[in-house]
């Protein structure tokens, strides 16, 4: 039981440290995707998923030879927030941890797709505004000519 509480405590400390130390991964998306709620949601999900997945790493580093029955019961509640996994234990932990890592990677890829498209959208917006200004100038010039 102590080992489970210890790992959960370490994970909470890591979460707090990321905020108190102004971690780039936490703060940058908050400003970068301020006006893009879909990307903001993806960034939050990616961060939270990474945090949940770090529990496995902390467990393996600190208690590699324990069965961790209680730990897996506790972690299951967190896992179910990010993936539909019925049962997790020491034998399938590696697989699910890899699966969750894949999900994080795919979320990051999706965010990058969104970011690339936002840049294109902004370019298009700029082009459009520029065209409008040039049109106004042209119209004003022709009015003056008349």
């Amino acid at each position: 039981m102590m080992s489970t509480l210890h790992v959960l405590k370490m994970a909470r400390e890591k979460l707090l440290f990321d905020f108190t130390s102004k971690n780039h991964d936490v703060y940058l998306p908050m400003f970068k995707y301020e006006n893009q709620p879909v990307l903001m949601d993806l960034a939050i999900e990616s961060f939270f998923t990474s945090w949940v997945n770090c529990h496995f790493q902390l467990w393996d580093e600190n208690y590699p030879h324990q069965s961790g029955k209680l730990f897996y019961s506790a972690i299951k509640l967190l896992i179910q927030q990010i993936a539909n996994i019925d049962e997790i234990n020491s034998s399938n932990q590696g697989f699910y941890s890899n699966l969750i890592s894949s999900k994080i990677r795919l979320l990051e890829e999706l965010i990058q797709v969104g970011v690339r498209d936002s840049e294109k959208y902004n370019d298009l917006l700029l082009e459009y505004e520029k065209d409008k200004v040039l049109f106004e100038r042209e119209m004003n010039r022709l009015k003056e000519d008349v």
Binding site: D117, E138, V146
Partner: protein
């Protein structure tokens, strides 16, 4: 000395005939006595002989009995050894069978767990794929709405610009034509570019979906690795047959 010797000799001369007569008279008694002795001796010898025969018979009987017993013992011993060997073999077979039954039960239990694990893994992967595709779709939808809004705004502004041109340049066809062409170009640019960007976005999402599909391959690798472990501990076919025979 001489006198004594002479008297002794005289005594012998006198006594000898008397002794002779006495001996002659006693002769029948002696003879009978001798005959009785012989009889006694014969009877004793006969008894001894009889005893000896009986002893020999008894000894022979005992040796015969001993032999019989020895033979019985050897037979019993061999029979017992054979029986023990048979029992040991049976015991070994039973033990082997028990072990195989235990292995079989363990395999069946492992198979059930593996099936559950595979089903869980497939479900988890399937749900994760759905979730990610839904998120990708939501992103595309969100972007499409933005582009559509931009296109609508461009059309609306183009319409207003055309009205302005029509009002302000109704007597100047050249200027009117130049401005209308500019509005057309601007509108076409925004509509075409937005359309192309949406196509590019869809292409990116298509690529992402391929990456999402690869998750299934991860699951297959996971299942195959578990199946390989299962095959390693799978017992030979003849053992399975033994277990099946035992169960039936």
């Amino acid at each position: 000395m001489g006198l004594v010797s002479t008297l002794g000799k005289l005594g012998d001369i006198v006594m000898k005939p008397i002794e002779l007569i006495t001996d002659w008279g006693r002769e029948p008694l002696k003879k009978r006595d001798h005959e009785r002795g012989i009889e006694r001796e014969r009877a004793r010898l006969n008894a001894e002989f009889q005893n000896r025969i009986r002893e020999m018979e008894a000894e022979s009987s005992i040796r015969s009995r001993e032999k019989e017993l020895e033979t019985d013992l050897v037979i019993k011993k061999e029979t017992e050894i054979k029986r023990i060997f048979v029992e040991i073999e049976e015991f070994k077979k039973d033990k082997e069978l028990q072990r195989m039954v235990a292995v079989s039960e363990a395999i069946m239990k492992y198979q059930k767990e593996l099936t559950k694990l595979n089903v869980d893994a497939i479900n988890a992967i399937g749900n994760m794929q759905l979730d990610l595709r839904e998120k990708a779709q939501k992103l595309v939808y969100d972007k499409t709405i933005k582009y559509k809004a931009l296109q609508d705004q461009a059309i609306k502004e183009a319409a207003e610009d055309l009205k302005t041109i029509d009002n302000d340049f109704h007597d100047n066809d050249v200027a009117k034509e130049i401005l209308i062409r500019a509005v057309d170009k601007r509108l076409a640019n925004i509509i075409d570019t937005a359309h192309n960007f949406l196509l590019e976005l869809n292409a990116d999402i298509k690529l992402l979906n391929q990456s999402i599909n690869i998750l299934t391959e991860h699951g297959q690798t996971f299942i195959e690795s578990h199946l390989e472990k299962f095959h390693v501990i799978e017992p030979p076919v003849d053992v399975i047959k033994q277990i099946e025979d035992k169960n039936t």
